[in-house]
Amino acid sequence: MGEVYVITSGKGGVGKTTTTANVGTYLSVLGKRVLLIDADIGLRNLDVVMGLENRIVFDIVDVVEGRCKPKQALIKDKRFDGLYLLPAAQSKDKTAVSPEQMKALCEQLKEDFDYILIDCPAGIEQGFKNAIAGAQKAIVVTTPEVSAVRDADRIIGLLEAYELHNPKLIINRIRFDMVKRGDMMDIDDILEILSIELLGIIPDDEKIIISTNKGEPVVMDEKSRAGQEYRNIARRILGENIPILSEEENLGFLGKLKRFLGLNNS
């Protein structure tokens, strides 16, 4: 029996889809059977991020409306063993799948998978309620901006209200140069405000855009720091104890000297 995770955020554009694609891909690389569900019905994108857009025949709405069996709608990723995608419908609206249908679908599918990751639509409307209905665990994605953190706080409150307790946080697009200058909130600032457990931080990395352009998950890029952190997050989900990437290594010589001299304690 698999575990169902929903990957969510309040604000759009913070990296939910990229996170779903990369964490899911690496879980499959680590030998797990993984299903990615795109629950952003009406605005699907997980398929293009994964590079599987050409292979869609049926989608999640076809499944719940009985036009095909769930297994017929699953797209197998040929590059990674045990990785599957259930795409969203592009033509329907967010209410095309009800919370009950989502729940039943997840119950049925989790018999065949170790991990099901649901890519949630942004916002707090019906689409959000539908996407979280079948999940047992939640991952909240935010960036270090005031708007994203505020909306993340709202989402954490809502998850609690829907009895998805102890969500984990991923802080995306950290720019260590700006953190050093004091122009970007650091990890501790955000954790102090949101007070939830940290699952990982992803440095801002232009390789994400390059990978997404090609439809290849960045997690397979050995040299990408963002890819490295996505690999770490996947391992943490499997229960491995991997320390969160620190800003230390990014300080450079001067920063390390300052820290050594105790000048850097702000």
Partner: protein
């Protein structure tokens, strides 16, 4: 180096401003208190207080802030009212009102 100079000139960095603003806005979000609701509360308090005290209602301030709770490091929302008093109404008036 930047932070050193910032400290030297006592300038707040933009991340500190962001953090302060976020804390305040999230307290309002969590308490679900709108500016309209605050205005209503303010008017009710005014009415109640003006029975007994003359106050400067233009300077009355009411807001939601954070106060440290008993537990160390925890902050809880608090309703703070700042009420400038002009004078206390004479006691005989109060007594007369009570007699009526």
């Amino acid at each position: 180096m930047f932070e050193f100079f910032n400290k030297f000139f006592n300038k707040q960095s933009s991340k500190d401003i962001a953090k302060e603003r976020l804390k305040l806005v999230i307290i309002h979000d969590r308490a679900n208190v709108s500016p309209e609701l605050l205005e209503l509360i303010k008017n009710e308090i005014l009415k109640a207080i003006q029975k007994y005290i003359v106050i400067d209602d233009k300077l009355l301030e009411i807001q939601i802030t954070r106060t440290p709770s008993e537990q160390k490091g925890e902050f809880v929302p608090a309703l703070i009212a700042n009420i400038p008093i002009k004078s206390v109404k004479k006691t005989e008036i109060l007594n007369n009102e009570a007699d009526d």
